[in-house]
């Protein structure tokens, strides 16, 4: 039962509610980094990694510090037996953006130290990810959908896969498009958006998937 719900979340966020093509999150890298296949793969890997980490960390922050539940650590430590747990959910936006920015910096430092090869591959993409709304978006979605810890992790990971899928497909198409004869005004971003529209139309077909 639990396992089944995880599969539904994973397939759902890769295909049905694909981050780029259905929810419009992370469009800047989608248009900006999709000119070459290599860099698209690198960016995709970095996003998968950061999105999974961010899902986990923001879930922990929300559950133990912000949410008005009896497991709130502030309540447990300082206010035990004094009425209701504090509701700090209005601090969500500020705390999440700070946590994500710090996390990206931290991940960058760790990768640089532990694996220079990986750092050379992902390094230039990591700072870009801080202002990628996909990372912030997945953290907020996990809270809105009231996912538990494992579900949040799976959702973050598979949303990253969905993003990478869309990005790599787009990069493959754009490499071919370099050879095509496109009207002068449509070159570059305009034709990329039209193509994204066609891909989105194709992904719309997945909406019919049903798991019951």
């Amino acid at each position: 039962m639990e396992f089944q719900s995880l599969i539904i979340i994973a397939v759902g966020s890769i295909f049905v509610t694909n981050f780029v093509l259905h929810q419009f999150l992370g469009l800047c890298p989608y248009i900006g980094v999709s000119k070459q296949l290599d860099s698209a793969v690198g960016m995709g890997m970095a996003v998968i990694f950061v999105m999974s980490m961010a899902s986990v960390v923001t879930w922990i922050i929300n559950y133990f510090l912000l949410a008005p539940t009896s497991s709130n650590l502030l309540f447990q430590l300082f206010m035990k037996g004094q009425g209701n747990p504090p509701d700090l959910t209005y601090l969500r936006t500020i705390s999440f953006i700070l946590v994500i920015a710090t996390l990206v910096q931290f991940v960058e430092m760790v990768i640089q130290k532990v694996s220079p090869g990986l750092y050379r591959a992902l390094g230039i993409y990591l700072p870009l990810i801080t202002t990628n709304c996909a990372v912030m978006g997945v953290s907020l979605l996990n809270i809105n959908e009231e996912y538990n810890f494992i579900q949040s992790l799976i959702n973050g990971f598979s949303s990253g896969i969905g993003f990478t899928l869309a990005l790599v497909l787009m990069a493959g198409l754009r490499e071919k498009l370099e050879l095509a004869n496109v009207p002068k005004a449509m070159k570059g971003a305009p034709i990329a958006f039209i193509m994204a529209g066609c891909m989105s139309l194709a992904f719309l077909g997945f909406t019919g998937l049903s798991f019951n």
Binding site: L21, H22, Q23, F24, L25, G26, L27, C28, I31, Y90, L91, R92, T93, I94, F96, I97, L98, A101, T130, T131, N132, C133, M136, G137, L140, L141, N144, P183, K184, A185, M186, K187, A189, P190, I191, A192, F193, I194, M195, A196, G197, C198, S200, L201, F203, L204
Partner: protein, 202 residues
Amino acid sequence: MAVGKEFIKGLYKENPVFRLMLGLCPVLAVSSSVNNAIGMGVAATFVLVCSNIFVSLIRQWVHPKIRIPIFIMIIATFVTIVQLVMAGFFPALSRSLGLFIPLIVVNCIILGRAEAFASKHHVFISLIDGLGMGFGFTLALIIIATFREVLGNGTWLGMPIFGPTFQPVLFMIQSPGAFLTIGMLLGLFAWYENRRATKKHG
């Protein structure tokens, strides 16, 4: 007049959406109806103006190495204000914009203006720049939303304009319509710019 120029440039010459292609996520996501587009535009303009003012006020005291986290904190504060005000006074709009209100915080236009303009100019001119950019952003949203709502739903701001026999092009208000509309509009602007350039030189 410098003030007028700073305001006007956001509307067309440096329009954040059509010319600089910044902050596209909310543009595509909330432009399925003109109503949502105006709500989003006003919210983003408010955050942009306030963050520009504050960044410009503190620009002499912020050490360059820690400026980005400080800018993000300022922006996040105003986004939280918008979030609470909207949930309190416009609950329907707040529900339909949903995730994209907190996501104003990662909108690259706002951080971009704080970094590129407000941290180098004095308060009043930063305010004008924020207003101009905000209006440009709202204008772009309304243009895209107009195409999508009229074709996809047969209405404009909720008013029916084609009469009862109109068959809406349903996919225009779904996700593909957003990509196609902005692709076409970007192409149109590029075509206009090309034509103007050739007229000037040849």
